[in-house]
């Protein structure tokens, strides 16, 4: 508003986007909390399949997929096979959702006063746990394969422009640009603050932390891949031994290749009839997923094989919870601070009430994610609510500050705050590079979304190729909601601009009428 009231819609749009993001982000925290609460037992509940009704075997769905997937899809989410089939509210998730919103309310109850204290723990604890995981991970067998896989670039993959687009959007969202969170937190700083140093520090710390975390994660993933590869080999060796009645443990993992080659030459029809799996370490390394699949399936399974599994599970999910909580602080700040500044509530109302109401509204809205189809809806929100809008808002922010407010005035302000004018690098990037990059990403994103019809992967036990997930297109009404989510916050920019334009025009007409009428008094005396 201070720059130009026509761009006030950017702030309003940021508020809407932050609200939508905090809805689904806290649901992810709910899932993490559920796993955390279930980690306090030995053996871990996702380590073994439950028995079926007459106790002769394991539950079929679990037998076909895996115990970890079964725990995630059935016992946690109780997922339906289709997004239009909503199912019922899962009470255990609802209870965990209430708990996570209660914890969040406790931390933001008085705004920055309580958040500032809570963040000491939520920001430092993940670093401690990451270090522990790094040390543990590097000592596990197979960690070096994982690290080699992380750091060797695959030229084929790098030639795909889609990968670069994903990388650009990833760094954009990782830095939480255009959410309004940075602006909200920065408004509590003293006016003469070295914002240039803060900006560089944020970018550097973010990237270093990502690198650190990826080293820890990939060493554990390498261990898991080596473990799976070993078990695949053991399964094949057992089949060989049983078929040819060789002595128990006579073929070791290293001898397996040689023995198989010998059998293939001497008795090829026997070897084919055994249905041996092909065990390649690269296949297992490439199976690492992203997002919720990485945390709840891949990593949960990796933790199972470490000695002292419940302790590692508690540490891991505790770290995820504190990480998510600190992100939620930023989101809630960017929701509550604009509401406070706009003066939505009357002055006598205490701040605790406002934050309580905000948390309550968010909690009630987020109960739709605890339905059985909730995780499909969460994917929709994740893909469509934030991405386009944030790129647009960032573009408007850069253009608004540099071109509407004026580069010279902005540099003067920064000189007043930090003591020196911003250098050539900053000026060039603000004026040219950033707007161009943002526009390119925006256009590329839209063309990508428009070219492929949106679809989702459903978990359907009746599918022929179960446990692969079934690819289904979104029904029409869901696609309409996707479009609405993508563009509604962005529409607030032209909407507010239009409202401001009309308001100014009405005020100008009123001023003209006042000038014509008799002058009753001078303006106030200064």
């Amino acid at each position: 508003m201070a720059i130009s009231p026509y761009l006030g819609g950017v702030g309003l749009g940021c508020l809407i986007v932050s609200f939508l993001v905090s809805l689904y982000y806290n649901t992810i925290l709910t899932w993490v909390l559920w796993y955390l609460l279930n980690s306090f037992q030995h053996p871990l509940p996702w380590s073994a399949c439950p028995l079926d009704l007459n106790r002769t075997g394991l539950v079929e769905e679990c037998w076909d997929s895996s115990a970890v997937s079964y725990f995630w899809y059935r016992q946690t989410l109780n997922i339906t096979a289709d997004i239009s089939d909503s199912g019922s509210v899962q009470w255990q998730l609802l209870v965990c959702l209430a708990a996570s919103w209660a914890v969040l309310y406790l931390c933001v109850i008085r705004g920055i006063e309580t958040t500032g204290k809570a963040i000491y723990f939520t920001a430092l604890f993940p670093y401690l746990v990451l270090t522990i995981f790094l040390i543990r991970g590097l000592t596990l067998p197979g960690a070096t394969e994982g690290l080699v896989y992380l750091f060797t670039p695959d030229m084929q993959v790098l030639r795909n422009p889609r990968v670069w687009l994903d990388a650009a959007t990833q760094i954009f969202f990782s830095l939480s640009l255009a959410f309004g969170g940075h602006i909200a937190f920065a408004s509590y700083n003293p006016p003469r603050n070295n914002c240039e140093r803060d900006a560089v520090a944020i970018a550097l710390v973010n990237s270093m932390t990502s690198l650190y975390a990826s080293i820890a994660v990939f060493s554990v993933l390498g261990f898991k891949a080596a473990n799976d590869h070993g078990r695949c080999l053991d399964g094949n060796i057992l089949r060989l031994i049983n078929a040819f009645d060789l002595p128990d443990q006579s073929i070791s993992r290293d001898d397996y290749a040689a023995v198989l080659a010998r059998l293939n030459t001497s008795r090829p029809e026997w070897a084919a009839g055994l249905h041996l799996d092909t065990c390649r370490l690269e296949d297992f390394l490439e199976k690492s997923a992203a997002g919720t699949g990485l945390a709840f399936i891949v990593f949960a399974e990796a933790v199972l094989h470490m000695p002292g599994a419940p302790g590692w599970a508690v540490l891991f999910f505790g770290m995820l919870f504190t990480l998510g909580l600190s992100s939620m602080f930023g989101n809630m700040e960017s929701v509550i601070t604009p509401l406070l500044d706009l003066g939505v509530m009357p002055r006598g109302v205490p701040k605790e009430l406002l934050t309580g109401l905000a948390c309550l509204v968010c909690f009630v809205s987020a109960t739709c994610f605890t339905l059985q189809s909730g995780s499909y809806w969460l994917e929709i929100f994740d893909h469509y609510a934030a991405s386009l809008n944030l790129i647009l808002f960032a573009f408007f922010e850069v253009v608004g500050v540099i071109y509407v407010y004026g580069m010279k005035r902005f540099c003067d302000d920064i000189a007043w705050m930090t003591g020196r004018r911003p250098g050539l690098y900053w000026q060039v990037t603000w004026k040219v590079v950033s707007p161009l990059l943002l526009l390119t990403i925006f256009v590329a994103y839209i063309s990508l979304l428009a070219s492929t019809p949106p679809s989702y992967k459903a978990w359907n036990p009746q599918y022929e190729q179960f446990p692969s997930r079934q690819e289904k297109p979104y029904p029409g009404w869901v696609q309409a909601i996707c479009v609405l989510l993508s563009f509604l916050p962005a529409l607030s920019v032209p909407a507010v601009a239009l409202v401001q334009l009309l308001a100014r025009r009405r005020r100008k007409q009123q001023d003209v009428q006042q000038d014509v009428g008799p002058k009753l008094q001078d303006g106030g005396v200064c």
Partner: protein, 222 residues
Amino acid sequence: MLWLLFFLVTAIHAELCQPDGENAFKVRLSIRTALGDKAYAWDTNEEYLFKAMVAFSMRKVPNRETTEISHVLLCNVTQRVSFWFVVTDPSKTHTLPAVEIQSAIRMNRNRINNAFFLNDQTLEFLRIPSTLAPPTDPPVPIWIIIFGVIFCIVIVATMLLILSGIQQHRRKNEGPSEMEDTEDKCENTITVENGIPCDPLDMKGGHINDAFMTEDERLTPL
């Protein structure tokens, strides 16, 4: 005559116990996997113990209390260690039905496993499924207990914060009213020019477009 009888008996035995024969079961042991260095060698004495365990299991079945060790026949012992076995009736002419042997082995599986220091996975009876152990479910799921603890802590802390906030609010309200009685009120006039307040505090270093401002901007309060 005696030699003829002997050949006849062994021939019948050989016919009764055959791989994939009627009522025959295959057994597979993985001794080295289970015991590692402490693995014992599989010899005729171990076979005798196995026959004894099977005969013991059959004796527990009603109507089969007269089963002897000699009624259990083993054949096709391989290096894996795997072999086939059948249980014959006292006349040694035909084998006992598979269903009876299955139920007898299932009942006494634990005793048989323990006799050889093995478990269900390392002493396999093919075609005889083992009853899986029921999972130990605590009466109250553990996650609910921990959830209750955390939730109570959060509620208590929230109540404390809200109460302390209300107390601070009340103290602030009482404070200024006392000052008003004792001192003169200092009129704090905000000078106004053209409807725009002249803000004496130049705390905002930036240049705000005053032509656009119609309400006073304040810093975000703590």
